[in-house]
């Protein structure tokens, strides 16, 4: 079952890829899409359920208005048209974690359609914008969660399975792109950047936690290859649940290489669902779903159509946040960051934090220095998001204030951050408790300088001869004697005063 892979660069000499991305966004509404059950993550299994989301006989759905609002705002942010009138539809198939054995979804009448998103990628030729057309964004409900107990952990070979219906009925928005063609060798990058920027948009809208690791945002990657210049679309495969930005890029690369291998050998691609394996970086056939499903969609008769008034849609348009891409460009210009600096800031998840820190009166370079240096390192070590650290923009501003006032230098400030991360109290308390304040008493400094001059007569001689740059050696010696708690600039001044 080993696949023949064609080298990536070679794939592009013969084939043109077409991409399609389907992203499911789990909304952060307080209650489920069609009932009043809470949606909080991590509750005891089957405690957030009612007759409706359990699919008990006779129970009926009622649409969550906030869910509709979130769907419209996502649609508007993706430059979609919003349906004046649309219905829910039943997608019929049997599965134990689906309480009604149909999923309430939307079919040919999505709430949002015909939009686009400009995706920024950085290739070999520098930054470049690629427009991704959005086919539709529609509302649906999540299923329950099956856990298969047994050695395999999969449904086949399991001793038994447990189903938790807490997730059943959680609102989802499915966002589907039109086929993305013309990306060529940049297809994997475009796929990654699209999902990444879509996530940013969702976060900016505040409609989802958008944590890929918790399954709030799940991507399915469709890919097909066609002979270069043929102008047609090839047969596609759908790789399900690719749940990190990096994996999206890798999955596209892998499928391009695999498809090319099959096509080169004169084979044809089977239209099928495939599983992504994070550990090995390959996809495998999802055979149990390979036979074509007929979902027998029809309009959900228990729900009335959603008719979003134009006034409401315009009102919601007024609540849209600044487009993240435009915002990034604006902030980069304001802060004077280079392209790589900006990218690092975004990738570290530090954009908001840096912006707020600057807002608290810190210079852009200092804000970047702390968040991307000391703090990013610490977040990485403890494997948490930067924003989850116990250090806030206000605290960073407080520490920087101490540096600006000459109480701390950068080296001491780092120790203060260490204290903050360890929960040792406020910056002032940490400075006090750890005895970090710099020696500002000129008498003590002067004595230390005198000692250093006495201990290093040759260096002192050079300085007297006009070789001012030799002062560095003396400064180091003084700083060492002062255990770092001295203002290096002042030490330099004192040395020069005494020797020139």
């Amino acid at each position: 079952m080993s696949d023949t892979l064609v080298a990536f660069d070679e794939v592009l000499t013969r084939y043109e890829p077409a991409l399609g991305l389907e992203v499911h966004v789990e909304l952060n509404t307080n209650t489920k899409m069609f009932c009043g059950c809470p949606t909080a993550f991590g509750a005891e299994p089957n405690t957030q359920v009612c007759p409706t989301c359990l699919g008990l006989p006779g129970a009926m759905p009622v649409v969550n208005q906030v869910g509709v609002e979130s769907a419209i705002r996502i649609g508007l942010a993706l430059n979609c048209s919003i349906a004046e009138w649309c219905r829910f539809a039943r997608k019929n198939y049997f599965y134990p974690d689906m309480p009604k054995n149909f999923q309430t979804s939307q079919y040919d009448e999505p709430i949002a359609f015909d939009g686009w998103m400009d995706v920024e990628i950085t290739g070999d030729d520098g930054p470049e914008t690629f427009r991704v057309e959005i086919e539709r964004a529609h509302m649906e409900e999540d299923t329950g969660k099956s856990t298969h107990i047994g050695s395999s952990g999969r449904i086949h070979g399991a001793d038994y399975s447990l189903v938790d219906y807490n997730r059943a009925g959680i609102p989802l928005i499915e966002i589907v792109t039109k086929p993305i063609t013309g990306a060529g060798e940049k297809a994997p990058l475009v796929a990654r950047a699209y999902v990444q920027q879509l996530r940013e948009l969702i976060v900016a809208l505040g409609v989802s936690e958008a944590r890929m690791d918790q399954g709030n945002l799940r991507a399915d990657v469709n890919l097909s290859l066609a002979a270069s210049g043929s102008g047609v679309l090839g047969t596609r495969t759908e790789t399900k649940n690719v749940n990190s930005f990096r994996s999206v890029e890798r999955a596209v690369r892998f499928e391009m290489q695999r498809h090319a291998g099959v096509l080169d050998a004169g084979g044809s691609i089977l239209q099928e669902t495939r599983h992504w394996h994070e550990d090995t970086g390959i996809t495998t056939s999802g055979r149990e779903k390979s036979d074509a499903e007929d979902y027998r969609y029809f309009p959900e008769p228990d729900l009335v159509p959603v008719a979003a008034s134009r006034e409401w849609v315009e009102e919601l348009r007024g609540t849209l946040p600044e487009n993240p891409t435009a915002r990034r460009a604006r902030l980069q210009a304001d802060w004077g960051f280079t392209e790589p600096e900006m990218r690092d800031t975004v990738n570290a998840g530090a954009l908001d934090l840096v912006e707020q820190t600057i807002g608290a009166g810190v210079s852009a370079s200092a804000a970047k220095k702390w968040w991307l240096g000391e703090l990013a390192r610490s977040a990485k070590e403890s494997d948490v998001e930067l924003s989850d650290l116990p250090v806030t923009p206000a605290l960073v501003a407080e520490v920087q204030g101490l540096v600006d006032a000459g109480t701390l230098n950068d080296k001491l400030a780092r120790q203060v951050f260490e204290g903050l991360l360890a929960g040792e109290g406020t910056p002032a308390e940490i400075v006090e408790a750890r005895g970090l304040a710099m020696v500002s008493d000129d008498g003590a400094l002067s004595a230390a300088v005198d000692e250093a001059i006495a201990a290093n007569p040759e260096v002192a001689e050079k300085i007297r001869d006009g070789k001012v740059q030799a002062a560095g050696a003396l400064i180091g010696s003084v700083m060492k004697a002062m255990r770092g708690q001295a203002d290096a600039a002042r030490v330099r001044e004192l040395i020069l005063e005494k020797l020139t």
Partner: protein, 511 residues
């Protein structure tokens, strides 16, 4: 008033208010009647004597304290087994739900409880309300109190028979294509299908969601109005329920009973007569029309040309919706679970298959297959899509007709009650029984069936149907009550007085 079990619900409500009878007396009298005759009739699937008496005691306490919850507080009622009742079995006439006890009440049931009506039990029905004879119940058929060898109509034969045999003064039914009105017609009782959205469907185990309505099953038009006003009105748990106040139904019934229909325009539907319509049924219909004219109504003939396609459209839309609704019965969470034979460690899918094979009856399987086919890719447009277009045309027929007339009328069913087993092997003949009732469900309009007398051929009851525009339910009550008053006068008493008593023992008259 006559006695505890032969009185109307309105009379019982008056007696309770006057203190001349207690709810415990009434409830016990009905339980006694059930014990005496239901062995023959089999109207009930489950009798809750203990629960009903408990509720009756509480009702009497409220009456004594001067704090009744409603005019009908203390008047017992029977509930069709398709409505969820917390703590009481709800089988929908199917083996697949045998033993299931819902953890919640249907909204209509909750409203009955909130008004203090003791619930006598759950009534028999065709499995998942699929049928016109109650023979498709997995628990055995209900028999017609007029002739125990005949069907009581369906799907709500249990509710109609319970009311006709005086085993309950009131009952709840559901009507998807005539399941309240056709049993009413063949048992000599009154049944109303309200405007679609007029009564909450929350807790009604759906047959076809876009057609189903809960409605009253009673012996008089006034009783239906009293019950309809109690169960009707907006329910936030049912998105399709209409968010506006009900028209005055009791007032309309009282107005009609006064006998004056001056200025009311009545349209006779041309398409609902002709070949296949039993002469005795047509004769009672013609007589009823004359009585309406006598009361001052103007009667004209109105054509609804697309009604001839109603049955075909109905038998695509209903199975389509039902096939999806019934998918939830999969042995995973509740109800029957059958392990497949000869498989050591069956998969969930194999258990689902074995359970559905064993748990559903033939008629249910027939409609699941029909509906699955009608929704299948490649057939959807030709079947389900086309049926929805017919549905639109039927709605337009109604709209055009109601431009000319205030109400439309027809016989409720083409024949009187047929013999048990007579049409079991001929589904189409069975389906044809609902010819006259189906258009109202497709269009969502309200309708009543009122007894029109006994057919000459077989001395069995026939029904007269009155249909009104959506949201104008008061019209069916006004015209229905006027006809009922005129006919009762003609007969010298209610039609049911002519039905067999079913037992020799007589219930004592009220003081």
């Amino acid at each position: 008033m006559s006695d505890r079990i032969h009185s109307t619900a309105a009379e019982l409500a008056e007696a309770l208010a006057a203190g001349s009878v207690t709810s415990v007396d009434l409830t016990q009298a009905h339980l006694d009647r059930i014990a005496a005759v239901d062995g023959d009739v089999h109207a009930y699937l489950h009798v809750d004597a203990e629960g009903a008496l408990e509720q009756a005691v509480a009702s009497d306490e409220r009456r004594a304290a001067g704090t009744p919850l409603h005019a009908l507080d203390g008047v017992p009622i029977a509930v069709k087994d398709v409505l969820a009742t917390a703590g009481l079995p709800t089988t929908c006439g199917s083996k697949i739900l045998e033993g299931w006890i819902p953890p919640y009440d249907a909204t209509v049931v909750a409203r009955l409880k909130a008004a203090g009506l003791p619930i006598l039990g759950k009534t028999n029905m065709d499995e998942f309300a699929m049928g016109s004879s109650t023979e498709h119940s997995a628990y055995g058929p209900t028999r017609n109190p007029w002739d125990l060898d005949r069907i009581p109509g369906g799907s709500g034969g249990g509710s109609a028979a319970a009311v006709a045999a005086h085993m309950a003064p009131l009952a709840l039914g559901t009507d998807t294509g005539g399941s309240i009105r056709q049993p009413g017609a063949v048992t000599g009782t009154v049944g109303v299908k309200p405007t679609y959205g007029g009564v909450s469907r929350y807790g009604l185990v759906a047959l076809a969601n876009s057609l189903d309505q809960v409605g009253p099953v009673t012996r008089t038009v006034l009783d239906s109005a009293l019950l309809h006003e109690l169960i009707g009105g907006h329910d936030p748990r049912d998105s399709t329920s209409i968010d506006q106040p009900l028209p005055g139904l009791v007032a309309a019934a009282r107005q009609g009973a006064a006998g004056d229909l001056a200025g009311v325009r009545v349209g006779v539907i041309t398409e609902l007569a002709g070949d296949g319509w039993q002469p005795g049924v047509m004769a009672r219909f013609e007589e009823s029309l004359e009585l309406l004219v006598k009361a001052g109504a103007e009667v004209v003939e109105v054509s609804c040309p697309h009604f001839v396609h109603a049955l075909a459209a109905y038998y695509l839309i209903l199975p389509a919706e039902a096939s999806s609704n019934l998918a939830k019965f999969d042995a995973m969470r509740y109800g029957l679970r059958v392990m497949p034979q000869g498989i050591d460690s069956p998969s969930a899918e194999e258990v689902m298959r074995a359970t559905r094979e064993a748990g559903f009856g033939d008629e249910v399987k027939r409609r699941i297959v029909l509906g699955t086919y009608a929704l299948s890719s490649g057939y959807y447009d030709a079947y389900y899509g086309q049926a929805q277009k017919v549905r639109t045309l039927i709605g337009r027929d109604f709209a055009a007709a109601f431009e000319q007339v205030d109400v439309l009328v027809s016989p409720t069913a083409p024949t009187t009650a047929f013999k048990l087993g007579e049409k079991l092997d001929d589904p189409i003949a069975m389906y044809l029984n609902d010819l006259a009732t189906i258009p109202a469900n497709l269009a969502g309009v309200p309708g009543v069936s009122v007894p029109s007398g006994l057919a000459d051929e077989d001395a069995l009851p026939a029904g007269f149907q009155v249909l009104a525009p959506a949201l104008a339910d008061e019209r069916v009550y006004r015209v229905g009550a006027a006809l009922e008053t005129a006919l009762t006068e003609k007969w010298g008493g209610p039609l049911l007085a002519q039905a067999p008593s079913l037992e020799s023992t007589q219930n004592g008259a009220l003081a």
